[in-house]
């Protein structure tokens, strides 16, 4: 009987990882289309925006079925619950990535501020790396890497603060950059939020491994 449960659990894990890969691509496409003014890619992303939420529902349904029908406890319980909760965070990350695309379509205005776009690229690179690491930590039950996400998010937050300053300086230098700056503010905020959700994901890795419920994200950090 338990073979069936473990088999289902394996499938659930695979689905979760697949969703992670999808979301990671979304972040990449979203920011790249923004920086490259690639509205076509952005529009395609928006059109396909329901793929990840649908995947999330499939995962949630399977997890809830397992809870109700197999009534797992102890380690098995934590695995199912952590997927259920982590899928929600992953879905939120996807939503934020779609918002990146929406902003790309909306954005008008030149001139731009190249220095900001450089920071945006850095932030994107960082959160994507974090997402891959946290998903790997999930599979490998690597609590240490999960815990390191707090420090990693501090780097993202620092970049966010830095970008704000650079945007304001840029507008002061050239008031024509004001139009683009509104979008910059949205984008850096979205990237920071993605980082916050990754930290939440990390806390579910910790729960899965140790049973410890952990508030990793600092609600004051803005």
């Amino acid at each position: 009987m338990h073979e069936i449960f473990l088999d289902e659990l394996k499938k659930l894990n695979t689905q979760f990882m697949e969703m992670g890969v999808l979301v990671n691509d979304q972040i990449d496409q979203g920011t790249r289309s923004f920086v490259a003014h690639d509205k076509k890619t952005a529009q395609k992303m928006i059109k396909e925006a329901d793929v990840v939420p649908k995947e999330a529902i499939r995962i949630e349904k399977k997890a809830l079925d397992l809870m109700a029908l197999q009534q797992p406890v102890a380690t098995d319980f934590r695995v199912v619950i952590s997927i259920l909760k982590a899928a929600t965070d992953l879905e939120r990350i996807g939503e934020n990535a779609i918002s990146l695309a929406v902003e790309t379509v909306r954005v008008k205005g030149n001139p731009r501020i190249p220095e900001v776009e450089k920071i945006i690229s850095q932030m994107t690179h960082e959160v994507r790396k974090m997402l891959i690491e946290v998903l790997t930590a999930y599979v490998q039950e690597d609590e240490k890497t999960a815990r390191s996400m707090v420090d990693r998010q501090e780097v993202v937050t620092a970049n966010y603060q830095k970008a704000r300053k650079v945007i304001i300086d840029g507008v002061e230098k050239d008031s024509n950059a004001a139009v683009a700056s509104a979008s910059y503010f949205v984008i850096i905020r979205l990237l920071k939020r993605i980082g916050d959700h990754i930290v939440n994901l990390a806390s579910w890795v910790i729960y899965k491994v140790s049973g410890e419920l952990f508030e990793l994200a600092d609600p004051k950090a803005e």
Binding site: M1, H2, F5, Q71, P72, V73, A74, T75, D76, F77, R78, S210, G211, E212
Partner: protein, 251 residues
């Protein structure tokens, strides 16, 4: 939290076969401890040591200490009637004596030498109320206890155990022979009684253990594998084998 009973390095042998290999476990007062584990793991054997129900088995040898309120229950010249007044027991199959409900519940009091009829009457009523069977029996206390349903019989047995005001009640799979509704009624009764008594329950029903117990001890092959609060054990046991058992992967 005060421990009312303590088991210290208890080993038990039936002839050449060692059934318990040195168990250390404490039972906190006014809590329900569930003993779980696969068949033959020694949980019932351990339970029966706690009020010396194993004494009469041939070739049995028990070593180590079992303390009730700090006193060794295996000390010489211990009065078994006194011990079983303090440590009562309810069995898997409801086992009322083949006489009236009243006499069943009063039985222990009479054995204990209580003659005051008013006190006996009062205790019988109180105990039946505590076991949540008073409403169903109050108008038929003269009826033979065997004429009641299985679930009712089991609650009469619980009332009988409670009548002598034991400190500890041992429960050996008390609901395994009952239907889900009767089981659930017994569980509710136990939840209420926990504020007054200490319970130690052997059960194969893991969901039941998670619902009613405060502490869980997991035994396997005569060893205590792990014990802890019910939350710890059902959410984050320290050993993988415990999680495997709780999820029915063996046993």
């Amino acid at each position: 939290m005060k421990n009312i009973m303590e088991v210290k390095n208890v080993k038990l042998r039936y002839g050449d076969f060692e059934a318990l290999h040195g168990i250390n476990l404490a039972f906190p007062e006014q809590k329900l401890t569930a003993l779980i584990g696969p068949s033959g793991c020694g949980k019932s054997t351990l339970l029966r040591c706690l009020n010396r129900m194993n004494d009469d088995i041939a070739d049995i040898k028990i070593t180590g200490d079992i303390l009730l309120a700090g006193e060794d229950i295996y000390r010489p010249h211990l009065d078994l009637v006194e011990l079983r007044k303090s440590v009562g027991m309810v069995f898997q199959q409801p086992m009322p004596f083949p006489f009236s409900v009243f006499d069943n519940v009063a039985y222990g009091l009479k054995v204990a030498g209580i003659k005051d009829k008013e006190l006996i009457q009062q205790r019988v009523e109180e105990s039946l109320k505590q076991a949540a069977i008073w409403q169903e029996t109050k108008d038929s206390l003269d009826r033979n206890a065997l004429a009641f349903s299985g679930g009712q019989q089991q609650r009469i047995c619980i009332a009988r155990a409670l009548a002598v005001r034991p400190a500890v009640v041992l429960l050996d799979e008390p609901t395994s022979a009952l239907d889900p509704i009767s089981s659930s009624e017994i569980e509710e009764t136990l939840m209420t009684l926990k504020t007054k008594y200490t319970f130690i329950m052997v059960t194969h029903n893991l969901q039941q253990a998670s619902r009613v117990s405060d502490q869980v001890a997991f035994l396997m092959n005569g060893n205590l594998i792990e014990s802890g609060t019910t939350e710890e054990m059902f959410l984050a046991p320290k050993k993988e084998i415990t999680s495997n058992y709780l999820n029915g992967r063996f046993g």
